[in-house]
């Protein structure tokens, strides 16, 4: 069980290392996107930090960078979650048939994706830091991690529930666009309205803005924000558990008899 967990954990990380498209997006698209935002943004904007009951006035550049970071990282990592599920479903079921523990498979994949999400959040925060000095790096990275983890879970769920890759991609693109767009007062009149509180990137956005622009922190938002990741994650894992089931585990069989009663 432990050796199977380590094999899954290590090889899941290796799989992500070979995900050239996602890495290229992070290395090229993210800085290019930030450079475009920096070139085009001007003026100031108000943003409401509800945990502290204050409104911050900041440059559109800073707020756009933070929104752009969440939008880009949630999209990329949502696709990663989706592709993990779409590409590995049949072979994961085969591994289970060969005697691999489903628990070890799930846990190994989950821990690996969690680690990748953490690295992506830290990298994206570093990128933003190149454009302006964020006040609290850890808080911004933690807020980004919460958003990314939620979208990895959403991607995994979409990969199991939706019928094809295209449906999954469209679902993640539309959800991430609507979700992160709604949080940004530059484009959305509803950004300071209570309705945005019901979207997955609401708490991460509150966290990254507070961390980047103020010296305040509300760490309960981190744990509450993880609720989205945990909720979607549990649904995705339940679906994964169901999809990798076998009538029996072949590799461990000595003598087995199965009766199917219909």
């Amino acid at each position: 069980m432990i050796s199977q967990f380590w094999a899954t954990f290590r090889l899941s990380l290796v799989e992500q290392k070979h995900n050239r498209f996602a890495i290229a997006l992070l290395l090229v698209y993210l800085p290019a996107w930030f450079a475009i935002i920096a070139a085009l943004s001007a003026g100031t904007i108000e943003f409401k930090l509800r945990a502290f009951g204050i409104t911050v006035i900041t440059s559109q550049l800073r707020l756009s960078l933070l929104t752009g970071m969440l939008n880009a990282t949630t999209l990329i990592m949502g696709f990663v979650g989706l592709s993990v599920m779409r590409q590995s479903e049949a072979v994961d079921q085969r591994l289970v048939l060969c005697g691999h523990s489903r628990g070890a498979l799930l846990l190994g994949r989950l821990v690996a994706l969690g680690l990748v999400s953490l690295a992506v959040a830290a990298y994206a925060t570093s990128m933003v830091s190149l454009f302006f000095p964020v006040r609290d790096f850890a808080e911004v990275a933690a807020g980004t991690f919460v958003a990314v983890a939620a979208y990895v879970a959403i991607g995994m769920l979409a990969g199991v529930v939706l019928p094809g890759d295209l449906e999954g991609f469209f679902f993640i693109i539309m959800l991430s666009l609507v979700d992160t767009f709604m949080q940004n007062p530059i484009g959305s009149a509803a950004a300071n309205h209570r309705v945005v509180e019901f979207f997955p990137s609401y708490l991460p956005m509150q966290m990254v803005v507070a961390g980047a622009l103020t010296s305040r922190a509300a760490w309960w938002q981190f744990w509450a924000g993880l609720g989205w990741a945990a909720g979607f994650g549990l649904l995705g894992l339940a679906a994964f558990w169901y999809r990798t089931r076998t009538a029996r585990t072949a590799g461990n069989a000595r003598v087995s008899a199965r009766t199917f009663a219909g």
């Binding site: 070979h18 590995s88 085969r94 048939l97 072949a250 199917f260």
Partner: protein, 205 residues
């Protein structure tokens, strides 16, 4: 030949909605026996093998398996973003094997050891199929289920495959091969035809 079969399927039926695929399939395979199951496209061969392997529940019936199973699916089910060696390592962990040495020997026999550190997505279809087969047999199972195992093999690999299968059978392995056509019926102890959801004649008789 042992009287106790290593594999016994009794009255196995399977429907998908209203479509009846298997109507009541019964067959047995003994230690050291090589059985071929032939049928047209869509006859239900893969469904039958998936039920026997334990991947799919039957709607009705009973399957008894004595010993470890090895299952080679028709389409290579491998991690395409990993190398050949990494796939072997992951399956070795699944089988509870400490080393991949038996798989290394099989890679040499099937002639693809030079691709050990190549990503599977960069391999040809035939080489992927060699890996697919190796993953099914690397733990030396007592019973081997092969679904169209030599698809994409060149002639030389096809011959190596049969040499390997023959050797395994002589060592006591029970082998069930399904295909939509067989060129060499003499290689099998029995060849059964799956038609309209039931197994019929022994074509090798």
């Amino acid at each position: 030949m042992n009287t106790q079969p290593s594999l016994a399927a009794t009255d196995v039926a399977r429907s998908f909605g209203r479509r009846v695929v298997l109507r009541g399939v019964t067959f047995q395979a003994h230690t050291g026996e090589m059985i071929g199951i032939v049928g047209e496209n869509g006859a239900g061969k893969t469904t039958l093998l998936r039920i026997v392997a334990g991947l799919l529940p039957a709607s009705r019936g009973h399957v008894e398996v004595r010993g470890r199973l090895g299952y080679c699916p028709q389409e290579p089910q491998v991690h395409t973003a990993l190398t050949v060696a990494q796939n072997l390592e992951w399956f070795a962990a699944a089988y509870g094997m400490a080393r991949t040495a038996p798989a290394d020997a099989l890679m040499e026999r099937l002639g693809f050891e030079r691709y050990r550190h190549v990503l599977v997505r960069d391999l040809s279809g035939g080489t992927r199929q060699k890996l697919n087969l190796t993953l099914a047999v690397m733990h030396a199972p007592a019973i081997l289920l092969l679904d169209e195992p030599y698809q994409g093999f060149d002639w030389e690999t096809y011959q190596r495959f049969w040499a390997l299968a023959e050797e395994s059978r002589r060592a006591g392995q029970t082998i069930v091969v399904i295909s939509h056509l067989f060129y060499e019926l003499a290689r099998f102890d029995r060849v059964l035809r799956l038609r309209d959801g039931v197994l019929t004649a022994d074509l090798s008789a």
